[in-house]
Amino acid sequence: MHWLGQPFRERSTLVFLGVLLLALAAVTLLHVAVPPEHPLYVSIYTVNLFGKYLSYALLAVAVDLVWGYLGILSLGHGAFFALGGYAMGMYLMRQIGDRGDYGNPDLPDFMVFLNWDSLPWYWQGFDMAWFAFLMVLLAPGLLALLFGFLAFRSRVTGVYLSIITQALTFALMLAFFRNEMGFGGNNGLTDFREILGFNLRSSDTRLGLFLASGAALAIGYVLCRAIVASKLGRVCVATRDAEARTRFLGYRVERFQLFVFVVSAMLAGLAGALYVPQVGIINPSEFSPLFSIEIVLWVALGGRATLYGAVIGAILVNYAKTVFTGVMPDAWLFSLGGLFVLVTVLLPRGVAGLLAFRFRRRGKSPGSLSGREVSA
């Protein structure tokens, strides 16, 4: 497991983990130890909000892994995120048990009033946490495997790939909107009660979920960092910049692409699974192509091919969204749209690029974008 230890020998990773740890500790402390009247008190509402940002950050890291290092602009990562979310949502639905409105121990409420006789086969097993958590990774992983296998095998690349990933998530959105699918249609899954026996409506559970998101982000980050820093990571960068050359060196490029794509999809699924219990609902709008494009913006804003840039981008944009939709709802779409334009035209290397310029990092981390290869 030498390759997994590699990130811990990098300064940038240690700094990142340190900052993350500090932030987690600070928020926890300010929530637990400070009395509510105190101005420094962080309410559970804010903790919850940060938990959401952290799961988004993990999602952004997953997207950066494929876009930044593999050059695959996936406009469908929301699909993997949502699938992970649905797997978690199904588990949480089953945890309601007979406490639903109709008191049916097997069927979730929405199935009862839409006259389902019995639980569909694909809902089986989701009452068991281990199975559901496994599916959180497997469901998006398998979809990515199938989709990636087909796409990479026939060398669908660049714009074409982006567009069919968009088609994928769009088709899934339409499918999940259908009530016959048995996922609650437009209403999705909601009204969750508990997770692993902990009451979802208690502050402690929320704090726990926040910390879990932080931990997942740390693990996901280290994993991605390890991949990127390994020789495999360099093969990815090689593929991104000169696919044919890599192939002629004897690497089965499509398999590398598939591997990384699947890992990324699983991380996105994990992010979705952490997101759902914190926001309390999963519905097909997470599949919307718009959301997937937005994720890409987080990464672009933060800085492609740096991983930590993705985290910065996700938190910045979502924080801005929280503030803006509160203060000037009309301005939000203007600023979001403006961000897209400005970042791509003026800041091709994102905030991370600015930081790097500022601090003049010594040496180059492998695979970072230089000059013209910013183009995909």
């Binding site: 093969v235 910049d241 060196l249 970072s368």
Partner: protein
């Protein structure tokens, strides 16, 4: 493997020049064999019933005017383009038409592109590291460790291609000629049985050209080398056997002098200017 250990075994200095244990069977003849290969794009025949054999250890130069089908021929050998008809064999055991590019590459066919193609986001060292013959499946690649032995081999190639100084530099800042060499270096790291080299000296100074010629002739014998080149001076300086392609098939084949005196070749190269060049 410790550095000390590898230092002790100095007899393995030219290890990277020794062909890898390739399953290629050349006991019964040539290493590369093309028969009646034809490929057309939108009705235009880029390669027309091409027949070509390369012997094991041979250094072959291929010349021909623009559009003669040189690059397309390389595309076919390396699996990038599939011909409409014909046979392509590597040794007497491997039908290249059934294989993918990475498979062909791991059989021991290395290719240098017309336009130098190196990984600009990586350092020179990393470029060579990726090219090195190794287990190129996913997990071994993920868990690959940098050993002293590898480092040493890379250093040796660096020395050969004269890029020791640039070792940790990004490949994007190399000059054109340096990129050509780096790419050749990457081929060397692959330890191929057959090298396909497309215009290796384009954009090089006289001096650089000489070194390249040295390098290529040095390789021949142990490995088979196919060089496609426009620069007649360079071809003359290295060539033992020359093949002239024209309109997708072989026009003439033989020593440089034989070929140069072939009237058909002269005609193809359009009159006096070409004659002058060939002479």
């Amino acid at each position: 493997m410790s550095i000390l250990g590898s230092l002790a075994s100095r007899d393995r200095v030219f290890d990277f020049l020794v062909p890898a244990d390739s399953p290629v069977d050349v006991r019964h003849g040539p290493i590369l064999y093309l028969e009646d290969v034809t490929v057309s794009f939108d009705g235009f025949k880029a390669i027309d019933t091409l027949n070509l054999t390369i012997d094991d250890g041979e250094l072959r130069c291929i010349i021909g005017p623009n559009g003669a089908g040189k690059t397309t021929m390389m595309d076919i050998i390396t699996g990038k383009t599939r011909p409409d008809s014909g046979k392509v064999w590597f040794g007497s055991r491997h039908d290249l038409l059934t294989m993918s590019e990475p498979q062909i590459a791991s059989l021991g066919i290395g290719r240098k592109f017309q336009k130098p193609t190196v990984f600009e986001a990586l350092s020179v060292f990393e470029n060579l590291e990726l090219a090195m013959a190794a287990d190129k499946r996913i997990l071994p690649t993920l868990t690959a460790r940098m050993t002293g032995e590898i480092r040493e081999r890379i250093d040796e190639v660096l020395l050969t291609i004269g890029l020791v100084e640039q070792r940790q530099r990004s490949a994007s800042i190399l000059s054109h000629g340096q990129k050509q060499w780096l790419e050749i270096g990457m081929l060397l790291m692959q330890r191929p049985r057959l090298l396909l080299v497309d215009e290796p000296v384009a954009g090089m100074t006289e001096q650089e050209m000489e070194r390249t010629a040295e390098l290529l002739t040095g390789l021949a014998g142990k490995q088979s080398v196919v060089v496609v080149e426009h620069d007649m001076g360079f071809v003359r300086s290295i060539a033992r056997k020359v093949t002239v392609l024209h309109q997708g098939s072989v026009l003439a084949e033989g020593s440089m002098d034989q070929v140069a005196s072939d009237p058909r070749v002269v005609e193809v190269y359009l009159g006096a200017e070409a004659e002058e060049e060939l002479a």
